[in-house]
C-alpha cells in the first residue's frame, strides 16, 4: 500500500503551517520526516491521519489504511497491557495481538496495569498497538521518545518487518533509527507560516483608507 501526497497545505487552527508538501512512499518503503521543533511535523501527520482537513492538495491513500500514533500514548492506566491491546484489537476488527506482544517483548508485562509501568514501557505498549491495527501505512510522531537503545532497536526491527510485509511508514523523528534504506524528507523547506488562505480576514479590507 502506497501513500502519495501532492501539494499539500496543512493548517493548525487559524494558521497555515506547511504548503506544497509533495512526497510519495511506495509499499515497502519508509520516509523519515525531519525538521526543527515547531516546523509542522505533527501538523503534517495529523493531516495525513485525517484528523485535520488539508487546506489544499491531495492525499492519495485510503484513510482506512493509515495507522496514526501521536505523542500521547493513548493508554488507559486502569487497564492491564493485555486489556489495552485487546481493546484496540476489537476497535480495529479482531487481529491477533500475539505478534505485537512478541515484537515489543511485552509478554512479561502482560498482566501489569499501564498506570504502574515506566514511560518507556508505556511507549512500547503504545507502539505495539500499531501491529494490532493491521493497517499498512504507519504515520508515527516521535515514536522513540523515552525508549532505551535496546527498545529503539526493537522498534526498528518491527518497522523493518512491517516494510518487508509490504507496509510503509512515515516517521517524524530526531534520532537515527538504523533504517539505512529509508528516504529522508526535511520538511523545513515546505514551511509557509501565514494566516490560512481561506480566511477572509487575512488580507486587509481597508474601510475607506483606515
Amino acid at each position: 500500500m502506497s501513500l502519495s501526497v501532492t501539494d499539500l497545505a496543512c493548517a493548525r487552527g487559524p494558521a497555515q503551517i506547511l504548503a506544497g508538501v509533495t512526497f510519495s512512499v511506495a509499499a515497502g518503503q519508509a520516509l523519515i520526516l525531519r525538521g526543527p521543533n515547531g516546523a509542522g511535523k505533527t501538523t503534517l501527520l495529523r493531516t495525513l491521519a485525517g484528523l485535520t482537513p488539508p487546506l489544499a492538495g491531495t492525499i492519495e491513500a485510503d484513510p482506512d489504511a493509515i495507522a496514526y500514533a501521536a505523542h500521547a500514548d493513548g493508554l488507559k492506566s486502569a487497564l492491564t497491557v493485555e486489556e489495552n491491546l485487546a481493546f484496540w484489537a476489537s476497535v480495529f476488527g479482531t487481529h491477533d495481538p500475539a505478534p505485537a506482544i512478541e515484537a515489543f517483548n511485552l509478554a512479561p508485562l502482560l498482566h501489569r496495569r499501564a498506570g504502574e509501568m515506566s514511560a518507556g514501557q508505556k511507549r512500547r505498549l503504545s507502539l505495539a498497538r500499531l501491529l494490532v491495527t493491521g493497517r499498512p501505512v504507519w504515520c508515527l510522531d516521535e515514536p522513540t521518545v523515552s525508549l532505551d537503545v535496546e527498545n529503539v532497536a526493537r522498534f526498528a526491527a518491527a518497522v523493518k518487518a512491517h516494510l518487508a510485509g509490504g507496509g510503509s511508514a512515515v516517521i517524524a523523528t530526531h534520532i537515527d533509527l538504523g533504517l539505512p534504506e529509508a528516504a529522508t524528507l526535511d520538511i523545513s523547506r515546505f514551511v509557509a507560516k501565514q494566516i490560512r488562505a481561506d480566511d477572509p480576514f487575512a488580507d486587509s479590507f481597508a474601510e475607506g483608507a483606515a
Binding site: 487552527g13 487559524p14 494566516i195 477572509p200 480576514f201
Partner: protein, 243 residues
Amino acid sequence: MSSLWEYANPRKFMATSAFLLPWTAGIAAVCLVTGLVWGFFFTPDDFRQGSTVKIIYVHVPAAIMAINAWFMMLVTSIIWVIRRHHVSVLAAKAAAPVGMVFTLIALATGALWGQPMWGTWWEWDPRLTSFLILFLFYLGYMALWEAIENPDSAADLTSVLCLVGSVFAVISRYALLFWNQGLHQGATLSLDREQNISNVYWYPLVITLAGFGFLFIALVLYRTRTEIRARRLKALIAQERMA
C-alpha cells in the same frame, strides 16, 4: 451578476453596513421616540387593566424581537455551517447579547405587569417560563463563544449548539403548555387583531415594534462590524506571532 452572498465578504459587508447603519439607527430612534411617547402620553387607559396597558409598548416588541433574534441566529448559523461565510456566523455572535437584553426586558416588564394584574411578581406561566428558558439559551450560547480560543472552532460549535438548542426550545415550549395552562393573555398581535386590541393601542404598538426591529438591525450591523474587526485583529496577532 450580483448575489446576496457577496455581502458575506467582510470588505463588502463593511462598506454596505457603513452605508446602512446611520439609516437604520435613525429610523430606529425616530420610531422608538414616536411610538413610546405616543404610547405613554397619548393612549387611554384600558377599562380593565388601567394604565398598566402602557407596558405593552415595551413588553410586546421586546418579546417579539427576542424570539426573532434567536431565529436570525439560527438562520445565520445554518448559513455558516453550509456555506462557511464568516460574516454570517459573526452576525449570529453579534446578535446574541442584543437578543438577550430583549429577553431580559420582556421578562422584567412581564414581572412588573404581572404584579398588579395577577398579584404576583413571578408566575410560572408557560409564556413567561419559555422566555426564562430562552434567556438561559442565550447565556449558554454566549458563554460557549467566550470559552473557545480558535474562532472557527467556536463558530462551528456554537452553530451546532444553536441548532440543537432551537429544537429543544421548541420542545420546551410544548412541554410547558402541557405542564401549566397559564394565566397569560393570548397573543397580542395576530391576524384577527380586531378581536384582541383596538386601533388606539394598535398604531403606537406597530410603531414601537418597528422601532425595536430597526434598533435590532442597527445594533446587529454595528456589533457585526465590531466582531469583524475583532476577528481581523485576531488574524493579525496570529500573523505577527508567526513572523
